[in-house]
């Protein structure tokens, strides 16, 4: 009887919380640029292009845009790292036991096809570290967590842009290295944050 009552209460609570979830979220500002560029390029409809290829039409027409994204990335993640370090007053934070070494930015792959496998590995490691970070939120100041998440958003923006550019120019080694470096930056930030949360 008590269990039934508890389940009913939890079920009702779940329904209430679900009903209160936001139905709308603002997408990244650059999301339309990719779509708009593609439909411009499509010209006449019916061309047999895949949606994945569509991202090739990203706004990366101008190298200066890439440079700007890089600067934002470095500035953002550096600020977060500084905040994390300042909080714990440790100049060189230890890495987590599960953390894997960050590789150099020199790419070992030469095209988008080869990079796909490596990207999956990045995604797996990022996913694991984010889980660790979230489980350790309570051990870091809210200000620090906010700064880290803000930086992650900047990095994600850079990743999106780089992927779009790479789809358009799959053999561009510089873009591959840029994308790898961006993923490494994200991993590094997450590794430092999780290390701080555990120390």
């Amino acid at each position: 009887m008590t269990d039934d009552f508890t389940d009913e209460t939890r079920s009702r609570e779940l329904d209430e919380l679900t009903a209160a979830l936001p139905r709308e979220m603002t997408p990244p500002a650059e999301a339309w640029d990719v779509i708009g560029s593609q439909i411009q390029r499509d010209g006449q409809r019916g061309q047999a292009r895949t949606a994945r290829t569509a991202r090739a039409a990203a706004v990366w027409q101008h190298p200066a845009f890439l440079a700007a994204a890089s600067l934002l990335l470095v500035a953002g993640s550096s600020a977060a790292t500084y905040t994390v370090l300042r909080e714990r007053s440790q100049p060189t934070p230890p890495r987590t036991a599960s953390a894997e070494p960050v590789s150099t930015a020199v790419s070992t792959v030469s095209n988008l096809s080869e990079f796909t496998g490596k990207e999956n590995e990045y995604l797996r490691r990022v996913s694991g570290l984010i889980t660790i970070m979230e489980s350790g939120d309570a051990e870091l100041a809210p200000e620090t967590i906010a700064k880290v998440k803000e930086s992650l958003a900047v990095i994600d923006g850079a990743i999106l842009e780089a992927r779009g550019a790479l789809a358009r120019d799959p053999a561009n080694r510089q873009l591959i290295e840029m994308l790898e470096a961006t993923y490494e930056k994200k991993l590094d930030l997450l590794q430092r944050t999780t290390a701080m949360a555990r120390s």
């Binding site: 919380l17 339309w32 019916g46 979230e134």
Partner: protein
């Protein structure tokens, strides 16, 4: 205050609740009017992005990719859109299709987000075996196995019936019900911590 659609074209009608009259914009876009399509994007992208975020388990990069795939597919598919279903429902279907295609296209990634075969999800990913505390509902939903998460999001948040979800995903109605039930159980367990 006029909606973006109204600013773009004074002939665009507004409904009683102030929303842009999508059918007019759809017709314009169907005729190749990319400005009309951009207005459709502005009107529908926040709602669709929320769906994409939840389908992607909170991964903003993946969610943005789904959103882009869905709208590009919509642009290309507009000549075949007959208007039998609301434009919003059609967009939702395209987003779900994009998710399924991405998962199937990349086996390694699909291992992470494999669809209805939740038996393949490692037990350690079950909420009942994770020590996390203080999770909010959004986070708890993001951590559900993909099959359960998709069924829960489409049914409880987006309001689709079980048979509509089954049709959309190409699975049995019973499977949808089981996934929704499983999702509720996992979420209630996480909320009780």
């Amino acid at each position: 205050m006029p909606t973006p659609a109204a600013r773009y074209d004074s002939s665009v009608h507004l409904t009683a609740d102030g929303e842009a009259d999508t059918p007019d914009l759809v017709e314009l876009a169907r005729g190749g009017d990319d400005r009309a399509f951009e207005q459709l994007y502005k009107a529908h992208s926040p709602r669709l992005f929320a769906l994409c975020m939840r389908l992607a388990g909170g991964d903003r990069v993946a969610a943005t990719t789904l959103l882009q795939d869905a709208f590009i597919a919509a642009w290309r598919g507009l000549p075949h859109f007959r208007g039998d279903a609301p434009f919003t429902s059609w967009l939702h279907r395209l987003a779900v299709n994009a998710m399924l295609q991405n998962a199937r296209a990349d086996k390694r990634r699909s291992a992470r987000v494999l669809f209805m075969d939740d038996a393949a999800i490692p037990a350690s990913e079950s909420r009942q075996e994770r020590p996390d505390i203080g999770m909010d509902l959004e986070t708890a939903i993001a951590r559900l196995p993909l099959g359960a998460r998709t069924a829960f999001v489409l049914h409880h948040i987006e309001g689709y019936q079980h048979n509509e979800i089954a049709d959309q995903l190409g699975i049995a109605v019973g499977t949808v019900k089981a996934q929704v039930h499983r999702a509720r159980g996992l979420l209630m367990a996480s909320l009780s911590r």
